[in-house]
């Protein structure tokens, strides 16, 4: 499943000890081919610049549709990280304290439009997203990457620096768009461009088990 991809110079596999699964290195910006080569269950290490965006950013991008030139960061081929980090301003630089993902499902109604309008190739978040986003991921060539929720210190240590921020005052620090530089930031592909979703699979399995648990009492009576 994690076989090396020939002819993909920006995507190399690395072995991280005998017990660990082989993880692929991703470097932003991502090409459509980068994304098409990823499958659910793949472990990746993200490198390069990504932007954060959560509730307010998504509502703004989907409704106001700001022109690309009015957004200070390049979004095309980029990754949006669903995260409201803790960032402390020390003199003129931003210091990242903690940064794990927020629940992605809250931006389900906006994400498909954002992927389409801004050429987003990757979403990093937690808990997965719904049908609308899954269809957009498939149609436009994107990928959803689940990362470890609540592991905020661990993940902050895999972000080299905070380059800049946008809409800090207007949206508030947790909801601003931050430009972060990731270094071997770990994530798992849970929704891929072929239309597979690990979240959907787990939901299906748990529904079968729920049915059994609901019927249990009646059978024992």
């Amino acid at each position: 499943m994690l076989g090396k991809q020939k002819g993909k110079a920006d995507m190399v596999s690395s072995e991280d000890g005998s017990q660990k699964t082989e993880a692929r290195t991703l470097k932003t910006p991502l090409s459509k081919d980068d994304v098409l080569n990823l499958k659910i269950g793949d472990m990746v290490l993200i490198n390069g610049l990504v932007v954060t965006g959560r509730d307010k950013v998504h509502k703004f991008l989907a409704h106001e549709k700001p022109d690309k030139k009015d957004i200070p960061f390049e979004l095309y081929g980029g990754i949006i990280y669903h995260c409201g980090p803790i960032i402390k301003k020390v003199d003129d630089t931003y210091k990242l304290i903690a940064a794990s993902p927020t629940t992605s499902m809250r931006v389900e109604m906006y994400e498909a439009d954002v992927i389409k309008a801004y050429g987003i190739r990757g979403i990093v978040g937690k808990g997965g997203m719904g049908e609308k986003t899954l269809n957009a991921i498939k149609e436009y060539g994107c990928v959803y990457l689940h990362t470890i929720s609540g592991a905020a210190a661990y993940l902050a240590d895999r972000i080299k620096n905070v380059r800049d921020g946008w809409k800090i005052e207007e949206f508030g620090a947790p909801e601003a768009m931050w430009l972060l530089e990731m270094e071997d930031f770990p994530a798992i592909v849970t929704m891929d461009a072929a239309g597979n979703s690990l979240h959907k699979d787990i939901e299906k399995i748990s529904l079968t088990k729920l049915k059994r648990l609901f019927l249990e009492k009646r059978e024992s009576e």
Binding site: C83, T190, K211
Partner: protein, 286 residues
């Protein structure tokens, strides 16, 4: 009262940057028991993160939550004074630790920047016969808070293309909880700790279900019937297969704590509060 303010700032720091021993032990057990690969790797990172946060004094999670205080105030001490000190301590702790500013004004949509706003933090006070002031603080994550559910029994629960009836009995309660956990999936950072209250008023059960999250994981309910129900439901939840991070696994919840309150004949509420794996709580005795 400067000392109390400093004590509360320290409490904030302890609660934000470490998790209680009983929760960490439960997560270690979950790690040892786990057989699913992605869940095990996730738990490994979670346990590493707990260590890093503790040793570097950084918040465990960037969402340092909605601060909820349960305070027992000795006779003669002003409850309002205690509230004022908590607000003061919150402002200082936000800047010092730092905490993420989470108080957003619903009218202007502006973040206050210091975690203080209308009913924010939320402070419950009650009088105690004791000589000491007892302050319990919970930093309640927003993702798991959103998964909370209130059921009015009897209720029709739909699952897939089928329906199940939750009647006014413990089996009905069990079904509601399973329904809530199924709906939650991995969106609120499992393995969860789940607080439940059964009673007759909407605000009563909402208050009680969340307050159960401060009970320790190994704590056994004094009523044998409820203790048995807690065990039974925990066992059922962990058969759903949602697992750590919702990517499949054998531990979906590490604890479930149920409270009961007398109900009105017309009403039978079941309220469910979720905590993410990072159930951050702590106590200051002053």
């Amino acid at each position: 009262m400067l000392k109390l303010r400093d004590g509360i700032i320290e409490l904030y720091k302890k609660v934000a940057t470490s998790i209680p021993g009983d929760v960490e032990d439960a997560l270690k057990t979950a790690y040892s028991n786990e057989t699913e690969h992605l869940a095990k790797e996730s738990l490994d990172i979670i346990l590493q993160n707990i260590k890093i946060a503790r040793t570097t004094s950084r918040p465990i999670c960037q969402d340092t939550g909605f601060p909820v205080f349960y305070v027992k105030v000795p006779k003669g001490l002003s409850h309002q004074l205690v509230r004022d000190i908590i607000m003061d301590a919150t402002r200082i702790a936000t800047n010092k630790i730092p905490l993420r500013p989470n108080a957003v004004d619903v009218i202007t949509e502006k973040n206050t920047g210091d975690n203080v706003g209308d009913y924010f933090p939320f402070v419950y006070t009650e009088e105690t016969e004791e000589q000491s002031l007892i302050v319990d603080l919970m930093l309640k994550g927003g993702g798991c808070e959103n998964l909370g559910q209130t059921y009015k029994l009897p209720a029709v629960l739909t699952f897939g293309d089928k329906e199940a009836i939750a009647e006014r009995d413990f089996d009905g309660v069990r079904k509601c909880i399973l329904d809530a956990v199924f709906k939650a999936q991995g969106r609120g950072c499992p393995p969860y700790t789940i607080g439940v209250a059964i009673g007759g008023a909407k605000d009563q059960v909402a208050f009680l279900s969340k307050k159960q999250l401060i009970r320790r994981i190994p704590d056994i309910h004094p009523n044998a019937a409820i203790a048995e129900l807690e065990n039974k439901i925990l066992n059922d939840i962990n058969r759903l297969g949602i697992g750590t991070a919702g990517l499949g696994g054998i531990t979906t919840a590490i604890g479930i704590k149920i409270a009961t309150a007398h109900r009105h004949p017309a009403s039978y509420f079941v309220d469910i509060s979720f905590s993410c794996w990072a159930n951050r709580r702590g106590r200051l005795i002053w």
